[in-house]
């Protein structure tokens, strides 16, 4: 877009799409903002009216709110950490010339195509179930006591399931980045006497930084709104141990039928997500410039 003319033209051409997206976003958002200031509980439909900041106050002071924030951070942070580290390692592995590389790659990518609900059900009933699950079977085979995953380590179990789903994505992106690593740079480093570790540390890792931030950005957007896996496995429990922000909003809206409170929660979630997004986009932008 070099000249002024092409700039104006491209803006004009973009307008319909941007307009549509804007309406798409602004209508539900306005409605949510409107309801968040309303006293509106489906169980008490007669008590409607302006509520001021009450819904926000109520949502934030709920002890479950703090728990939900912490759980969300642990969930997002944990999955990000494992998928990025695991993705780099698997990417390095898949980038080697191993036999049947094509098949192995497809096998690695496949979890990404499994629906979250299905994945969670499979994990819950076939793998992590304390009686019928495969892990329990393995534990018994070695003479150990099976772990009741969702009772003893509920949040970690969710992290494991979500990681299983997102690891392929991270691997795929990082593998692509690895493949674009300049061969001659590696050879130059060989000549310079760099060990395998030094090459990884000083050449591969900086090269992957950009791909890593992209993975982090995209994953964060999706991980902030994890819901199906929690609903299917733990229902946010035990207690509030696995309740994250989206699940808390859901439970406000459809378990307490508190439309006003749920809307307030939704708006808070939107604000928090935007703060995170701004930071991430900055980070990515800085990486893209470099």
């Amino acid at each position: 877009m070099a000249t002024k003319h092409t700039k104006t033209l491209s803006r004009l051409m973009n307008l319909p799409a941007i307009g549509l997206l804007f309406i798409w976003m602004i209508v539900p958002l306005t409605m949510a903002i409107y309801y968040s200031f309303q006293r509106y509980n489906l169980l008490k439909p007669d008590q409607r009216g302006f509520a001021g900041w009450f819904n926000y106050e109520f949502f934030i002071t709920d002890p479950a709110f703090v728990a939900a924030i912490i759980n969300t951070i642990v969930l997002v942070g944990g999955v990000l950490l494992i998928t990025i580290i695991g993705g780099v390692l698997l990417g390095l592995l898949l980038n080697q010339a191993i036999v049947g590389r094509g098949i192995v790659r497809i096998l690695f990518i496949s979890p990404f195509f499994v629906m979250p609900t299905v994945a969670a059900l499979v994990w819950k009933n076939m793998l992590m179930h304390p009686i019928y699950g495969m892990f329990a079977e393995i534990a018994r085979f070695f003479g150990g006591t099976p772990i009741d995953f969702f009772a003893t380590i509920p949040l970690l179990s969710i992290v494991i399931i979500v990681t299983w789903q997102w690891l392929p994505f991270a691997t795929l992106i990082l593998l692509t980045a690895l493949q674009s690593l300049d061969q001659e740079q590696q050879e130059a480093a060989d000549m310079d006497g760099a060990s395998a570790f030094a090459k990884f540390r000083y050449i591969t890792l900086p090269h992957l930084a950009r791909a890593m931030t992209v993975v982090a950005l995209i994953e964060t957007i999706f991980l902030l709104s994890i819901f199906a896996e929690i609903k299917v496995t733990t229902n946010g429990g035990p207690g509030t141990d696995t309740t994250n922000l989206p699940y808390l909003v859901f439970s406000r809206a459809l378990q307490h039928f508190d439309v006003g409170g749920a809307s307030a929660g939704g708006i808070i979630a939107v604000i928090l997500a935007n703060i995170v997004a701004i930071f991430l986009i900055r980070a990515v932008g800085k990486n893209l410039e470099a």
Binding site: D182, E184, Q185, E187, A188, A189, D190, M191, D192, G193, A194, S195, A198, Y202, I203, P206, H207, A209, A290
Partner: protein, 332 residues
């Protein structure tokens, strides 16, 4: 020290034999240039010496030590790549310092060496920039800087100037020659460029299909090519060839004569022909003369020549500057 000996070096990629068997003895401090047509194995041979490719057979001996199975770092050679292969995330300073850092040298020492190298290569003002912000020539100098700081026993260059424009190429050519005079370290230099080969080399290796055709000084190659291939390859414009009756007259299967060893006349000469291309370069004039029955010859005469496209001319070779070849292509 940098005496490099290749003994029966052989390299296959799978079933394809790229280098059948090469023997070379490169003396300490020599500037050796590998030339040859594209795909003849110049880069492969250089990479074998560097240790970036494994030998299929034979031996490489550096300063009396068999390094055939040593890693690249152990051979203490430095290489400058065609694409420069600078580390894009590091500043110029860190790029140049990298091999020293890998060698575990202490920081004060590293700084001193990097500053010295940067100074000699006119890079001092650019030390804190990343390679992405440098021009082609500057990048090339950084690559050279990274090579010289480690004081290697020999430098390997793989077409280092081919990404630069003509003027810069001339400058860098002179800089590299100066560097060689100053350091007196063995250099092996791969190039496509005739002029680079002739001007820089102490000795030239002419390769064809992985075989060494001739190994000698530039003027040896020019004056006494061992065979038709070397004769045709060295010199620009290329040597002209004639067979049949013309060759028999000189008791040869084929004769060759260089463009600069031909006389052009408008009145008389050995072959009559029509000028199909006339290149007036100012100092020189190249004529492509399409003769009636001996093929097209290129001649080189001085710039004043007033002959143009379509003119009829007579060309003749200087009989004392004729190269004679047998049926097997070898010089007689």
């Amino acid at each position: 020290m940098g005496n490099i000996v290749l003994e029966k070096v052989n390299k296959c990629f799978g079933d394809v034999e790229v280098i059948p068997s090469v023997d070379l003895d490169i003396k300490d401090g020599e500037f050796v240039v590998f030339v040859g047509p594209s795909g003849c194995g110049k880069s492969t041979l250089l990479r074998l010496i560097a240790g970036l490719e494994d030998l299929t057979g034979g031996k490489i001996i550096i300063d009396g030590v068999d390094v055939s199975d040593s890693t690249p770092a152990k051979r203490e050679l430095a290489m400058v790549f065609q694409s420069y292969a600078l580390y894009p995330h590091m500043t110029v300073r860190k790029n140049i310092a990298f091999p020293l850092k890998m060698a575990g040298m202490d920081q004060a020492e590293i700084d001193k060496k990097v500053e010295a190298a940067a100074k000699s290569l006119n890079l001092t003002d650019y030390l804190e920039r990343t390679p992405g912000l440098l021009s082609g020539g500057q990048r090339q100098r950084v690559a050279i800087g990274r090579a010289i700081v480690r004081s290697p026993s020999a430098f390997l260059f793989d077409e280092p100037l081919s990404n630069l424009d003509a003027a810069l190429r001339v400058n860098m050519r002179i800089e590299i020659t100066d560097l060689h005079k100053e350091l007196k370290t063995t250099m092996i230099y791969v190039t496509h460029d005739q002029v680079e080969a002739m001007t820089m080399a102490d000795r030239i290796v002419v390769l064809q299909a992985g075989d060494v055709e001739q190994f000698g000084s530039p003027l040896d190659l020019y004056n006494k090519p061992v065979n038709r291939f070397v004769a045709g390859f060295i010199g620009s414009p290329k040597m002209n060839f004639a067979t049949g009756k013309d060759a028999e007259e000189f008791n040869a299967h084929e004769i060759g004569f260089r463009p600069e060893h031909m006389t052009v006349s408008t009145t008389e000469g050995r072959w009559k022909g029509v000028v199909s291309v006339a290149e007036h370069l100012g100092a020189d004039t190249f004529l492509h003369v399409k003769t009636e029955n001996a093929g097209t010859f290129v001649t080189r005469s001085d710039g004043e020549l007033n002959i143009n496209y379509g003119d009829t001319v007579y060309v003749s070779p200087n009989t004392d500057k004729i190269y004679r070849f047998g049926a097997d292509g070898l010089s007689l």
